[in-house]
């Protein structure tokens, strides 16, 4: 009820043509200042033209041909659009404000607002390399991305990098890890996990884990919705709408990969290697833990390398919150964290600047103890990535 003593403030505003950001919400005022906030899933403009100077010989030629293709007027010939988004272009009737590609200046401007203290940069355009059919092409793109990002974003205050590796080219992945591990700003090895077949627990990928563990770099699995690939668990041809692809692509892939990595004994073999999952939400985490435990009782002899129930290994994984599901009650997140023991492993992630990016208000909506909120907003990420602040 308005009180006649209430202050009244009237502001003339314009419609937003870019999606609103945390700094556009003044609802928390000083409240966020007391936290060290690490945004563990941030994307900058990594469209392919940036990679061109880093690709030699026939790969360079191939990329030039890609860049010359006229692709529905989308900016900078997007690999993602080339692969799948075209299937659904226009389906949202331009309802969304357009997501812009974030330049370095945009990133710095966002950080200068002082809400986000650290940003971990993940690939966007390179996420399909998990299922590009030609492993050498995928490897060349990964190398170019890593070099470009290291050149453009190392030594930028508050900015840390995920290098990307193609699971299709294991030897190349190992050499990329070894090449970049000594850069203090490189804090994780990102594996694009959608469409990767066989799934990531398979022995063929173990050298990647061995190298990451030896270099003290945690592994981050990052999905993509553009499921053009023909592999389990989901194919683009299953769905008439992007909403369905988007909703299920990330968590189903993640469940599959978590199951595979754990059941194949990777955490037993590489006990010091940390894993996290990005961009798949978190409500499914208790499901996969307890679902696997149930089957483990009966089928344990198939998994003799495991020394504990699957859930014990999974409880050590870290999780980026994006897209953080909005549960009906403010106390529900706390219950969810109890179910998967996620207080020390859940990390706030926005996916900025993509359309579906989360605002901090999505986390602040929930009732949480202040120390848990501080962990999710930053402390858990600092533990996971192991950087000094």
């Amino acid at each position: 009820m308005a009180n006649s003593k209430d202050s009244i403030d009237v502001k003339r505003v314009e419609a937003a043509f870019n999606p609103v950001q945390d700094q556009d919400l003044d609802i928390y005022g000083e409240e966020l200042k007391k936290y060290t906030i690490v945004d563990v899933d941030v994307h900058v403009d990594d469209t392919l033209q940036n990679m061109l100077p880093y690709m030699d010989g026939h790969f360079g030629k191939r990329l030039e041909a890609v860049l010359a293709a006229d692709f529905m007027g989308e900016p900078h010939n997007s690999l993602r659009n080339m692969i799948a988004h075209v299937s659904w272009l226009g389906a949202a009737y331009d309802k969304h404000p357009r997501a812009k590609l974030a330049t370095k200046e945009d990133l710095l401007e966002r950080m200068e607002y002082g809400i986000i203290d650290y940003s971990i940069l993940f690939p966007s355009e390179l996420l399909p390399i998990g299922y590009l059919p030609d492993p050498k092409w995928a490897a060349a793109l990964a190398s170019a991305y890593n070099e470009y990002m290291v050149d453009a974003y190392s030594n930028v205050a508050g900015v840390k990098l995920a290098i990307v590796v193609s699971p299709k080219s294991v030897e190349h992945a190992v050499s990329e890890i070894e090449k970049h591990a000594s850069n203090d700003d490189v804090v994780t090895v990102s594996i694009p996990d959608v469409g990767v077949n066989p799934p990531l627990g398979d022995e063929k990928y173990w050298p990647i884990y061995e190298a990451a563990e030896a270099c003290n770099l945690p592994v981050s699995l990052h999905g993509i919705e553009a499921l053009i690939h023909d592999n389990y668990p989901l194919r683009v041809s299953h769905f008439p709408t992007l909403m369905q692809v988007h909703s299920m692509g990330f968590p189903f892939t993640s469940m599959l990969q978590v199951m595979s990595v754990v059941c194949e004994g990777v955490p037993v073999r590489y006990p010091n290697l940390k894993f996290c999952v990005m961009e798949a939400g978190i409500t499914w985490v208790p499901f996969i833990m307890h679902r696997l435990d149930t089957a483990y009782r009966q089928y344990r002899t198939e998994l003799p390398a495991l020394e504990a129930q699957p859930s014990e290994y999974i409880s050590k994984w870290y999780w980026g919150t994006h897209e953080l599901e909005k549960l009906p009650k403010k106390g529900d997140l706390s219950k969810l964290l109890d179910l998967y023991q996620g207080h020390n492993t859940t990390m706030w992630a926005s996916d900025w600047p993509h359309l579906e990016r989360d605002l901090i208000a999505g986390l602040m909506y929930y009732d949480l103890d202040d120390d848990v909120r501080a962990k999710i907003l930053g402390k858990n990420a600092i533990d996971f990535y192991g950087f000094t602040t």
Binding site: A2, I8, R12, V13, P19, Y93, K95, P97
Partner: protein
């Protein structure tokens, strides 16, 4: 702020300074309200999106797609210009009723009148 019949009235702008197409974000205490002039008709609606609190005063006004008994379960474009699209992640609200399209929820709407040549929101 004036009061009549127990309702509080907040004069927000002189009529001639609030033309069609304009919008205002008003804060009364800590309550946000978004006010619009759509082709000469005034609308006021609760100003924070229930999803992640984006300011609805900055949402675009568009139409949307409907599919129901009245359209014979075919998709049709409807409500052109009167659907407030959240600038956060595009939840859509009917500016007339506050109803969120596709959700069983409704935002509060407020009457708007012109009084002494001022656009006035009734709380």
């Amino acid at each position: 702020m004036k009061e009549r019949n127990g309702k509080r009235r907040v004069a927000v702008a002189p009529v001639d300074e609030f033309p069609p197409g304009a919008r205002l974000e008003i804060k009364v205490g800590n309550r946000s309200i978004a006010v619009f002039n759509v082709k000469g008709e005034y609308f006021a609606i609760f100003g924070l999106c229930p999803h992640q609190s984006a300011p609805l005063s900055r949402g675009r006004l568009q139409g949307t797609v409907v599919c129901n008994e009245h359209t014979n379960w075919e998709k049709e474009w409807a409500h052109d210009g009167e659907v407030l699209v959240c600038p956060g992640h595009a939840m859509e609200f009917d500016l007339r009723t506050g109803k969120a399209f596709g959700y069983g929820m409704k935002l509060r709407t407020y009457d708007v009148i012109v009084e002494d040549d001022w656009v006035t929101v009734i709380l």
